[in-house]
Symmetry: C2
Subunit: 122 residues, 2 copies
DNA sequence: CGGTTATATAACCAATGAGTTCTATAACGC
DNA sequence: GCGTTATAGAACTCATTGGTTATATAACCG
């Protein structure tokens, strides 16, 4: 799986509120399918499906305890996800730095501010 | 929009590689639809649709420059997304701490390790 | 063995998503 | 006003998703 596909799977997995709730629960410790299905008013197969999605994203692994197959959270892909986000957030912040220096230039009177260049925010 | 729905929209927006590429491009500065459509071999309406998705997630705003409506990145939702991820990653790390102390207890001979409680990892 | 419990799989359905082409709207340049 | 350029929207297709119920598998319990 390419890094891009890994991010596809991770972000897609996190895009569903049920799956985020499952992860939040698993962050506190392993849990079986039945334990996960109970708090959500949702069928057992639905939870199994969500676990499969999380599994494909590498966010949970499954163990074995008698009939149970407890799910365990795996945080690796989360790190890759925050890395991606933070990377571009930093570049974006860098742009604001440049905008600040532009404003410095304007304030120093080197150019005529013909019109409000951009306070949009829209 | 509830916080959960905001995360839904943000993660869903980030789950598509084209949209991530668009964001990566916008992190370096505003760009028009045509400028964005060129590097991807993709129709103009497709890019407009992606921008709408990113817009609904609050990740881009649109300006006005003659006929152009340049897209600008907005980083706010990204912060909320990393906040969510890091929150549960930390809790998960906390669990490893607890597992370490459990192992300490076992090593100190306070309990009988009846069976390997859980080294799965699967 | 037979019944119960935990999980997975299959088949189905309604809704959504990502792309297309074609068309409408608007702001420009002359 | 007229042609061009930039964008948005409509209508369509096809694949995927999130849920359901019903069924199969498998490990336990007695």
């Amino acid at each position: 799986m390419t890094p891009s596909q890994q991010l596809d799977a991770t972000f897609a997995a996190l895009a569903d509120p049920t799956r985020r709730a499952i992860l939040a629960r698993l962050a506190t410790g392993d849990a079986s399918v039945m334990e996960l299905a109970e708090p959500f008013s949702m069928s057992q197969p639905a939870v199994s499906k969500h676990l499969k999605v999380l599994g494909r994203a590498g966010l949970v692994s499954r163990g074995r305890d008698a009939q149970r197959r407890p799910a365990r959270m795996e945080a690796g892909p989360l790190t890759e996800a925050t890395d991606w986000i933070e990377r571009y957030r930093r570049i974006w912040e860098g742009n604001y730095g440049r905008l600040d220096t532009l404003l410095d230039v304007l304030r120093s009177g080197k150019v005529e501010p013909s019109s409000d260049p951009d306070t949009t925010g829209d």
